[in-house]
């Protein structure tokens, strides 16, 4: 039965055209960014930075470097938006359209139904990141060579990596992105378990993430920033720091997973308590 119920949720999610709109949007944005990188001034700026640090630009402006640069704005902006859109729909849309009432006239527990939906959300988040990371790398490879990479970002400094280390960290960073996307899906999912419209669940989840980003960056909260979930979202890029701070990475992973589980349990409790009416 677990398989059947899980399969149902996958059918429902991936049977909708709307599910694929985000994938299309990512592809368009990635293509645009790649063109900008290839023909704009970004490349020249990077060459200057590398030369200033004593590195040969042609050795490090690679497919991996460009893929990571392409991912930064998408992970920060598009991914949470799209993940919360899907997460906000998962329960609230079914309640709004009346299919939830049809399901709950069957002998399935509310918790089990929610668990299946939540797991589907995790699958979706993982798939989204895999597609995102895969297409970014493939598109970047069209114009840029498969060589070592460099990553420069506030808080992690300037890091030059060999192709082997770079690719392995790229895969690790995708894992973290998947966790980030799952947390965003889970947050919207939690709100959608309450009696509200799908759009309201999405907006609330986005608001939580936005407030978290703003507060995390206010100097007053500098010593509290680890309390904000979005601080841990940046682990996907902190991973490129040399040497990789695995203990901090592990801690962030635990916090995000705990947050994901907490939002699920809060949503499940709210869903269990509410009346399902037409």
């Amino acid at each position: 039965m677990f398989y059947l119920h899980f399969r149902n949720e996958l059918w429902k999610l991936f049977g909708k055209k709307r599910t694929y709109i985000g994938f299309g949007a990512f592809l368009v944005v990635q293509t645009g960014m790649l063109l900008m990188f290839r023909f704009g001034h970004v490349r020249a700026d990077m060459e200057r930075v590398l030369a200033g640090n004593g590195y040969l630009a042609e050795e490090y402006i690679s497919a991996l470097t460009v893929a990571v640069i392409m991912l930064i704005p998408q992970v920060a902006l598009l991914m949470p938006l799209y993940a919360t859109l899907v997460g906000g729909d998962m329960v609230a849309k079914e309640a709004e359209e009346g299919t939830l009432r049809m399901i709950l006239s069957r002998p399935i527990s509310r918790f089990r139904l929610l668990l299946m939906k939540w797991l589907t959300g995790i699958v979706f988040a993982t798939l989204l990141v895999l597609v995102l990371g895969g297409t970014a790398l493939c598109l970047a490879r069209i114009w840029f060579p498969w060589k070592g990479m460099f990553v420069s970002w506030p808080g992690i400094g300037f890091n030059v990596l060999s192709v082997g280390t770079g690719f392995s960290l790229y895969l690790w960073s995708l894992t973290f992105m998947a966790v980030n996307a799952s947390v965003a899906v889970g947050l919207a999912f939690m709100f959608s378990c309450f009696n509200m419209k799908p759009a309201a669940a999405t907006i609330l989840a986005l608001s939580v993430l936005f407030v978290s980003i703003v507060m995390e960056n206010i100097p007053f909260f500098e010593s509290y920033k680890e309390w904000f979930p979005t601080y841990h979202f940046n682990t996907w890029i902190r991973i490129y720091s040399q040497p990789t701070p695995w203990d901090a990475v592990g801690q962030a992973l635990c916090i995000l997973l705990a947050m994901n589980l907490t939002t699920f349990l809060v949503g499940a409790a709210a869903f269990q308590a509410r009346d399902i009416k037409s």
Partner: protein, 286 residues
């Protein structure tokens, strides 16, 4: 409070009508039966199992249809059935085919539900309710939104289900005509409380109404009341006879007092008369 102090027992094999105006508490009562609405007190048992504590066992043999049935419009009819029925039990494809045929959706089962007419959606709703071999079928306003042909078809189907499959059917409706034609027993809800429960036949035996056409109806009523032959009158044309009084005595008395009688005939009380009388009575009680 949507439902207050409601005690309802649906005997096996009946078509049980749950009647009441909009907001009377019918859908809430059904929601409680299906474990979708939590009662603040009391219990709901289906086939002997408590819906709250033993949901799986209680709803194993239950099928339900709601007003304006909702489906995943972007999926095919067959896929919708596969999804909905899997929440009860794994169903073999042959059973899905059989039910699709039974409801008359053969040939269209692989089309997307968004292409279905209202009538086809109603049939699909029926199919999903029948797939798990139910013993109890709960129908919440099943004719809502259907055209006259669709309503007729739905009624015939309900009767067929009762006759051929021996299902117990709980039908919630505010269409008196529909309830009258289908149900063997009814409960009437008003503002969350049950104001009547009994067989359909008992709704017609409560008062004997006689249609009376005379020259002066008010004075005829006054005369008959004075002679203690009638209990009441209504609508300027109907009188309710006292126990043991026959129409010939009415005619005799009126003629003796020079009241011309043009017509006298017994009038069978419809469910509508009964229902309106019940609701008026409720208003007067308040």
């Amino acid at each position: 409070m949507a439902v207050d102090n409601l005690t309802l027992r649906v005997p096996a094999g009946e078509i049980y009508g749950l009647l009441g105006h909009n907001g009377a508490g019918k859908s809430t009562a059904i929601g409680m039966m299906l474990g979708q609405v939590w009662p603040t007190s009391g219990e709901v048992k289906i086939c002997g199992h408590d819906v709250t504590a033993r949901r799986r066992q209680a709803l194993q043999k239950v099928g339900a249809i709601f007003e304006s049935p909702a489906f995943y419009d972007y999926l095919s009819g067959r896929r919708n059935l596969e999804i909905l029925t899997s929440y009860t039990a794994a169903t073999p494809p042959a059973r899905v085919r059989e039910v699709i045929e039974w409801v008359g959706l053969s040939g269209r089962e692989d089309s997307k539900v968004r292409t279905y007419s209202h009538g086809m959606r109603a049939r699909l709703a029926l199919a999903q309710a029948l797939l798990p071999h139910p013993e109890l079928l709960i129908l919440d306003e099943p004719s809502d939104g259907l055209d006259p042909e669709g309503i007729h078809e739905m009624r015939q189907t309900i009767l067929r289900l009762h006759r051929d499959l021996g299902l117990t059917i709980l039908l919630s409706s505010h269409l008196l005509n529909e309830v009258e034609q289908l149900c063997t027993r009814i409960a009437v809800l008003n503002q969350g409380r049950m104001v009547f429960e009994g067989t359909m036949a008992s709704t017609k035996q409560r008062e004997r109404w006689v249609r009376l056409k005379v020259g002066d109806f008010p004075s005829a009523v006054s005369l008959l009341r004075g002679a203690q032959l009638i209990k009441g009158s209504r609508e300027g044309r109907l009188i309710s006879l006292d126990e043991g009084v026959s129409t010939d005595r009415i005619v005799k008395l009126l003629v003796e007092h020079s009241q011309p009688v043009y017509e006298i005939a017994s009038e069978e009380e419809t469910l509508e008369d009964f229902y309106l009388g019940l609701m008026n009575g409720q208003r007067e009680v308040k």
